[in-house]
């Protein structure tokens, strides 16, 4: 799989997880502001700074399971 395809798959995974969040939950992201679930999903789709941070947070979290197994 190419890097681009992997990135797209990761985006899909993160968006699928975000869609499971209840709609009444909002994200307070420091100086960036308060965001709804839909706004965060748009950030991930667009690949802006907040979206990149959300993806990185998910990946670090998922990788922590691997560390725990090792």
């Amino acid at each position: 799989m190419t890097n681009k395809k992997i990135e797209e798959e990761i985006k899909k995974l993160v968006i699928a997880r975000l869609k499971r969040m209840p709609p009444n939950y909002k994200f307070a992201i420091g100086t960036s502001g308060v965001f709804s679930r839909e706004e965060i999903i748009s950030c991930v789709e667009e690949g802006n700074k907040i979206g990149e941070r959300i993806i990185k947070m998910h990946l670090n979290y998922i990788r922590s399971f691997k560390k725990n197994v090792e």
Binding site: R20, K26, V34, M57, H58, Y61
Partner: protein, 234 residues
């Protein structure tokens, strides 16, 4: 000698309102102890007032609630009548800078806990190097938390925000119990992990497991202690 604790508590937007409300939990704790509390709410949280207070009262512990970035900690919302340093928070909001690289020396030899996003990254690192007795606990990335829109008018009853803010408050509670900065940091880390474990367990609803644990994990990972790990308030 009575120990002095200084807390900045601006409350001009949703995030600072939550920090303001949750700070009541450790303020209640301070009021039951022989500790002098100096609390600055929104109208007092200017750079000038904060500098004066720190220089005059020389508090042992300073807790900064508010916005920030890698190089600054903010207080109140911009007051257009005064010519002060500010940073853009969002399109319609600028907040006053109360601590930056220019006045960071006033934090020398103090214990600092800053919830201001990313302030541990550069500012906190530099402050911690100012004196061997200085300790700076904060976050190297943005401190992110979830809010339940149905509870935003009563943040203390928001069970979705509580795991984040309770883990953060643990730093202050431990310090107020006379524990070292290293112990306070470790206890906060343990509290983050306790909540992560809970949300990874079958006890939590699946939608909460998916929603909350990864954000708690991120806050736990980016929380740092710079400087002296062995200082305590008393």
């Amino acid at each position: 000698m009575t120990c002095k604790v200084f807390v900045t508590r601006p409350d001009h937007d949703d995030e600072t309102k939550y920090l303001y409300e949750y700070s009541k939990e450790y303020i209640k704790f301070i009021e039951n102890k022989d500790i002098q509390l100096i609390s600055f709410s929104e109208n007092k949280c200017s750079r000038e007032n904060v500098e004066k207070l720190i220089l005059k009262q020389n508090p042992n512990l300073i807790v900064f609630n508010g916005h920030g970035n890698e190089e600054v900690i903010c207080g109140c919302k911009e007051n257009e009548d005064r010519n002060v340093l500010t940073i853009k928070i969002r399109d319609s909001q600028r907040d006053e800078i109360i601590i930056d690289m220019k006045n960071k020396e006033i934090l020398k030899s103090k214990i600092i806990y800053s919830v201001a996003c990313s302030s541990a990254k550069k500012l906190g690192m530099k402050v911690a190097k100012s004196h061997t007795k200085t300790a700076f606990i904060g976050y190297e990335e943005e401190f992110i938390f979830l809010m339940d829109t149905r509870k935003m008018c009563k943040p203390l009853s928001d069970q979705i925000a509580r795991p984040f803010l309770e883990s953060s408050n643990q730093v202050v509670i431990s310090l107020l119990k006379g524990e070292t900065t290293g112990e306070a940091y470790n206890k906060s880390q343990v509290t983050f992990q306790k909540w992560i474990d809970y949300f990874q367990s079958e006890k939590a609803a699946l939608h909460d497991s998916i929603s909350i644990a990864w954000i708690l994990f991120s806050n736990k990972e980016c929380q740092k202690l710079h400087g002296n790990r062995d200082v305590r308030l008393f």
